[in-house]
């Protein structure tokens, strides 16, 4: 992984002093990339890490000549193997893309043409980039070869399938096949695994590493996940506000972090934390009264799927799921997409009805309650959605949003009393009065999620169900929200049901954990026990796939490793 490839005169890609602006007004330009230097040598795996808004995607678009019309390159140069391509027309750049540099886009679910078979889409790339192969049979052979290289074992079958017939991981491989079809010397991948499950992510990244070794290509990986970058790359560049703030070999970045931002990112990474977060007010008291506040028994839910030609298929989203949440603790539900964890969360608060099974809050049974009784129960049982960009009514100000449950439950009557309570709630989530009259569109993702949490806290609930509540946020923001949740729990004695796909987060916040797969609970128990000595094969697999095992490898903090290390102890 670290053996030095043969040196050539020029790096595969050299970006020097690149600055890119976006047009924000008639004569106003806002810089997105402010003078970046970057190079990728043959056989090198370079990662570019940054949070949303750091300009990393813009940088890549600039390098590939794929900038939107509203952007311009103000200064700097881009050279492939010493050939300066800055200012090349799109037509000339099209020859470079594909033939010289392969691009793997971010979201495999939207990056393939849904009405064309995979084979056709790969052939398109072959035909465009390898004009020497003249006849259709040769094209076909080259496309199949490319699919095989991308790690699709059953290339013949995939060749004749449509994108919707493939899983996310297979689609991403098809995209890799398309990127490789032109036999590029460097591959640029923009968040290639961010939309995928961790176990799939691991397989895709493993494959990229293998391709680099076998074909000797250079790889430039754009990612927001420091863990992935540290695990995989030879060299790391950290980007913030359009500038590279830290650069160097992985080990050096880990051991001698020179920039504050990098240190913050490293500290925010879930894998960095030694164990469960403590509230800022001091070490938390172990909840003494651990009677269950929420009990679910034998929950089952089936969805009817419409198959082709009138066939009906059934999808068991939940199959006999039990869950017990102890008072004042956090119970995490972990699993990959399709595991049924969101369905479970949705049933717990009765947004979705279960086919069979029961949910008890305290000693009241939820399933089968009428609307009016349910409304009463909801005072005690609140829900926080995954995406703060869609869970807040875009037309409501922050003040109105937080006041809504107060109004609906007739809790604080009178305008003054209500406003006072809203300000108090905002204070609890570290926002203040100045935010009262803002609209959600004027807030950052982290601020929006704080508003959503404040709103959920308004009726003084005992239980919060959080459905992937930090998954849409950057790591540094995620760390803040998690800390906030821990503080609130210590202060108000809340119980959390915390749904997540991220095992790193589980360790930070949960007391108990339930691992789900395919609608079934595979393992449940206290966090330390499940993470340290997982009994089920699937839990072990999940743990091994968590990136960032290397973050603590340099011994900068005494904490144990998450993921592989823990699993191997077992």
């Amino acid at each position: 992984m670290t053996d030095v490839p043969e040196r050539e005169e020029d790096p595969l890609l050299r970006i020097a002093g690149l600055a890119i602006d976006y047009r924000t007004g008639r004569r106003r330009w806002t810089p997105a990339v402010r003078g970046v230097d970057l190079h990728v040598d043959p056989g090198e795996f370079v990662s570019l890490v940054g949070e949303s808004g750091s300009g990393k995607s813009t940088l890549v678009q600039g390098a590939l000549g794929l900038l939107p019309p509203s952007a311009r390159i103000r200064a700097g140069s881009i050279a492939y193997s010493g050939v300066d391509v800055t200012g090349w027309s799109d037509q000339r750049m099209a020859r470079v893309r594909g033939n010289y540099v392969g691009f793997i886009p971010q979201d495999p679910n939207t990056s393939l043409n849904p009405v064309k078979k995979i084979g056709q889409q790969v052939i398109e790339s072959v035909r465009f980039n390898a004009p020497d192969a003249r006849n259709a049979a040769q094209h076909r052979e080259a496309a199949l070869e490319s699919l095989r290289t991308a790690g699709l074992k059953d290339a013949e079958r995939v060749f004749h399938q449509y994108p919707h017939e493939l899983s996310g991981g297979m689609k991403q491989r098809a995209l890799i096949a398309i990127a490789l079809a032109g036999r590029p010397r460097i591959v640029v991948a923009d968040e290639p695994t961010s939309a995928l499950d961790v176990t799939v992510q691991k397989v895709i990244l493993d494959h990229l590493m293998r391709l680099r070794e076998e074909l000797g290509i250079g790889i430039l990986l754009i990612t927001h996940d420091l863990g992935v970058a540290l695990d995989r790359s030879d060299r790391i560049l950290v980007m913030q506000d359009g500038r590279i703030v830290e650069e160097g070999p992985v080990r050096q970045v880990l051991e001698n972090t020179t920039h504050d931002y990098t240190r913050r990112l490293l500290d925010a990474a879930p894998a960095r934390q030694a164990g469960r977060l403590e509230p800022t007010s001091g070490p938390r008291a172990r909840p003494t009264d651990t009677s269950p506040v929420l009990r679910a028994r034998a929950l089952t839910r089936t969805y009817q799927l419409r198959g082709g030609r009138g066939r009906r298929r059934q999808l068991r989203a939940l199959d006999g799921v039990d869950l017990v949440v102890r008072k004042g603790t956090t119970h995490a539900i972990v699993g990959e997409s399709g595991a049924g964890k969101s369905t479970l969360a949705s049933i717990l608060v009765q947004f979705t009805a279960a086919d069979s099974g029961t949910v008890h809050i305290g000693d009241r049974e939820l399933t089968g309650l009428g609307r009016r009784e349910l409304r009463e129960i909801r005072r005690d049982l609140q829900f926080v959605f995954q995406n703060p960009f869609t869970s807040l009514d875009p037309r409501f100000t922050v003040g109105k949003l937080v006041a809504e449950p107060l109004q609906a439950f007739k809790l604080a009557t009178g305008k003054q009393e209500r406003t006072a309570r809203v300000v108090e709630l905002l204070g609890a989530v570290a926002l203040d009065e100045s935010h009262l009259h803002r609209l959600p569109a004027e807030l950052s993702g982290g601020q929006r999620q704080r508003v959503a949490i404040a709103r959920a806290l308004a009726p003084n609930p005992g239980i919060l169900v959080l459905d992937e509540a930090v998954s849409a946020l950057d790591v540094s923001v995620q760390a803040q929200i998690l800390q906030l949740l821990v503080d609130l729990q210590a202060e108000l004695g809340l119980s959390y049901v915390f749904v997540t796909h991220d095992l790193g987060v589980v360790r930070l916040i949960a007391d108990d954990v339930t691992v789900m797969k395919g609608g079934v609970v595979v393992e449940t128990g206290p966090v330390e026990q499940v993470l340290r000595s997982p009994r089920h094969e699937y839990t072990r697999e999940l743990l091994e796939a968590v990136p960032g095992a290397g973050i603590n490898g340099a011994g900068t903090s005494g904490g144990e490793r998450v993921g592989a290390a823990i699993a191997h102890q077992a």
Binding site: G53, I222, S391, D393, E442
Partner: protein, 291 residues
């Protein structure tokens, strides 16, 4: 990745409270839109206070000056009886616009409520309302309007009612589609979770968030309705002859179109400009509120 500017610019932007000056400034950069607004405002002015725009009477003509071509004195020329056509067009704006407005209000009101109920309730109610709407859509709207007027009697109010009824369907369809989209949003589910009842959710979240497309449609429908009202007037279903009504003016001028073309063209031009202007305004509104 997200476009970085979005995050950078977000805290500074104040979407709803854009100052009036800024809006006017934006208008100045779109000359066509500005002209459209001027046309609409002037025509509304005609309807409200015709006396301010012309000193001629719409009824009394000077028979010596029959069929005078457009001139400085008579901007639109005169008709067979020597009545000033500009004055008749200005006074006619009142009849035509009132009928149009009434028609759009009827269609907007009934259509939006029907669409809201259908989209929000779903199930059998949805099916029932929407099949009824389909029946309305199946009948050509002008034909439907003619039937309604024939039943109710010839008058401008009845024209308004007829045109309104015939365009309920499109409002209902658009509203239902919007409601269906909004109902699946997280913030609607969140509102239930926060203790709102169905009515509260509907009035506070669903209606405000689905209305913008329907409002754009209303602006568009103004143009169509002007045309429909004038068509019915042209066919003689509306106001009786001495009254100035745009459709009627065109009808009256039609007989002399070979020899004195302005008699039909001038009111027709006014009609066409209003329709185009309304369309332009609707388009810009839709663009501004696109999500």
């Amino acid at each position: 990745m997200t476009v970085p500017l979005d995050t950078l610019a977000a805290p500074a932007r104040r979407g709803s409270a854009r100052p009036l000056l800024g809006r006017l400034g934006g208008l100045a950069r779109q000359p066509v839109l500005m002209v459209s607004w001027i046309i609409v405002l002037v025509v509304i002015g005609w309807a409200v206070a015709p006396r301010l725009f012309t000193s001629y009477s719409p009824y009394e003509g000077d028979s010596a000056a029959s069929f005078a071509p457009p001139s400085v004195e008579h901007w639109f020329g005169t008709d067979r009886l020597g009545r000033d056509l500009f004055a008749r067009t200005v006074y006619g704006a009142h009849t035509t616009l009132t009928a149009t407005l009434l028609a759009v209000l009827i269609a907007f009101g009934i259509g939006t409520v029907a669409g809201l109920i259908a989209g929000f309730s779903g199930g059998i109610v949805d099916t029932a309302v929407m099949r009824l709407v389909d029946v309305f859509l199946a009948i050509p709207s002008l034909l439907l309007a003619m039937v309604v007027v024939s039943v109710l009697g010839y008058s401008t109010q009845n024209i308004a009612l007829a045109v309104g009824i015939s365009s309920i369907a499109s409002f209902a369809r658009v509203m239902r589609a919007e409601v269906l989209a909004v109902v699946t949003q997280d913030y609607v589910r969140a509102a239930y979770g926060l203790g709102r009842g169905r009515l509260g959710v509907m009035l506070r979240h669903v209606v405000p968030n689905s209305l913008s497309s329907v409002v754009a449609l209303a602006a568009l429908e103004v143009g169509t309705a002007v045309l429909a009202v004038a068509s019915l007037g042209f066919l003689g279903y509306g106001a009786p002859p001495p009254q100035p009504e745009w459709g009627l003016l065109v009808a009256e001028g039609r007989d002399y179109v070979a020899t004195h073309p302005w008699a039909a063209i001038m009111p027709g031009l006014a009609l066409a400009l209003v329709v185009v202007a309304a369309h332009r305004i609707s388009t810009s509104y839709r663009k501004e509120h696109r999500r």
